[in-house]
């Protein structure tokens, strides 16, 4: 299974959700499907995508937050899984693409490569109740449907091949991404206020 296939499968569901991705291949594969104002690409600061997701989820209880993370990034901030478990935001789906590789920085093996480190077990051990470990596009799709329907903190660890796009680049400056992402949220809040 390729990460790009999983992201393509999620893509139609992301119109009304706040999406935070990690750097590199993951960000590029989502961007290449078509950028939306509700996508934020964290092109550095590895490990913090899920922390941004937590900050969004706790302060925006009526939105659904999707974090597209990776094994290398999660390994840089394992404490985040315990923090997520502690606060258990009901509106956060944390997808960890585990390609066992630091692909975007040269393809070195990560700690998960040979099955020594099991990120799903770490997530469970951190206290997260809903953790799915999947390795096919069908089981990924089922796990995603369950996660969105569940209305509870969910982690999906998806084993994917260590392959990425053959090009990198976005027509989007980094602060511009932040400004537009924030503006989209502000606009959504205004719409929600008008509706009530």
């Amino acid at each position: 299974m390729k990460r790009a296939e999983c992201i393509s499968m999620l893509y139609p569901e992301l119109d009304d959700k706040l999406v935070v991705t990690i750097m590199g291949a993951c960000a590029q594969e989502l961007y290449d499907l078509g950028h939306k104002e509700n996508f934020f690409y964290l092109q550095h600061a590895m490990g913090l995508a899920s922390s941004i997701g937590l900050g969004l989820a706790l302060h925006l209880p009526h939105e659904t937050i999707v974090v597209l993370d990776g094994d290398g990034s999660v390994l840089m901030n394992l404490g985040t899984l315990a923090t997520l478990a502690r606060y258990r935001p009901r509106n956060l789906v944390h997808v960890i693409f585990d390609n066992g590789s630091l692909l975007s920085t040269g393809g070195f093996d990560s700690h998960t490569t040979s099955g020594i480190t099991d990120l799903a077990a770490i997530a469970r051990g951190a206290g997260i109740q809903n953790v799915a470990a999947v390795d096919s596009i069908v089981t990924f799709g089922e796990a995603a449907i369950d996660a969105f329907a569940r209305k509870d903190l969910s982690v999906i660890v998806a084993k994917v091949a260590a392959v990425g796009p053959n090009h990198y680049g976005m027509d989007l400056q980094l602060p511009e991404n932040a400004f537009r992402f924030k503006r989209w949220i502000t606009h959504r809040k205004e719409l929600a206020r008008e509706a009530t």
């Binding site: 092109q43 550095h44 490990g47 706790l58 404490g79 923090t83």
Partner: protein, 171 residues
């Protein structure tokens, strides 16, 4: 030496008066009494992190959500949060209002705090992060408000250093 209850109250009141509704923190001794007040206050959401760098992400999420957020940490936690400050907050022009307990500085009896205390100001200067020292309970409220205002207008990290004079009871 004990943490000043009255001055911890003054700092928390300053946070409240600045209209702050959300805090991220990693508890440490000087921040303990004020975090206890935050825990009891239904008007403030307190998010404890496992390591201070996480709080940079949480603060970014709070900012995107339109929430008035302040970060509380020890200076060693500030040092541990460095890449998040540089490569999330600064890179994306996301404001951070950091209240930092300045351990290991003037009057520090504990050797283990001293290296961090000695380098904190230099690191802030190297990163071009505006900072002030908070020494008095009568000024700290204004300083918090002004730190928050500057962080928002400059879209930049800003630090208020909580000193021993403020956080510990005088002998």
């Amino acid at each position: 030496m004990s943490v000043s209850y009255e001055n911890s109250k003054a700092v928390f009141q300053g946070i409240k008066d600045a209209g702050i509704t959300s805090l991220s923190a990693l508890p440490e001794t000087w921040l303990g009494l004020l975090l206890q007040q935050a825990e009891r206050d239904p008007g403030v959401r307190l998010i404890q992190v496992a390591k201070e760098e996480e709080a940079i992400g949480v603060a970014a999420g709070a900012y995107f959500a339109g929430e008035r957020h302040v970060l509380l940490m020890q200076n060693h936690g500030f040092l541990a949060a460095m890449n998040g400050i540089v490569s999330l907050a600064m890179l994306y022009s996301i404001p951070l209002c950091m209240l930092i307990a300045l351990r290991g500085h003037w009057g520090e009896p504990y050797p283990w705090h001293t290296r961090g205390g000695i380098v904190t100001e230099g690191v802030l200067r190297a990163l071009n992060i505006p900072f002030e020292y908070a020494r008095s309970p009568k000024d700290v409220g204004r300083q918090i408000r002004e730190a928050y205002t500057l962080s928002q207008s400059s879209l930049s990290p800003v630090a208020l250093l909580l000193t021993r004079d403020l956080m510990e009871d005088a002998l």
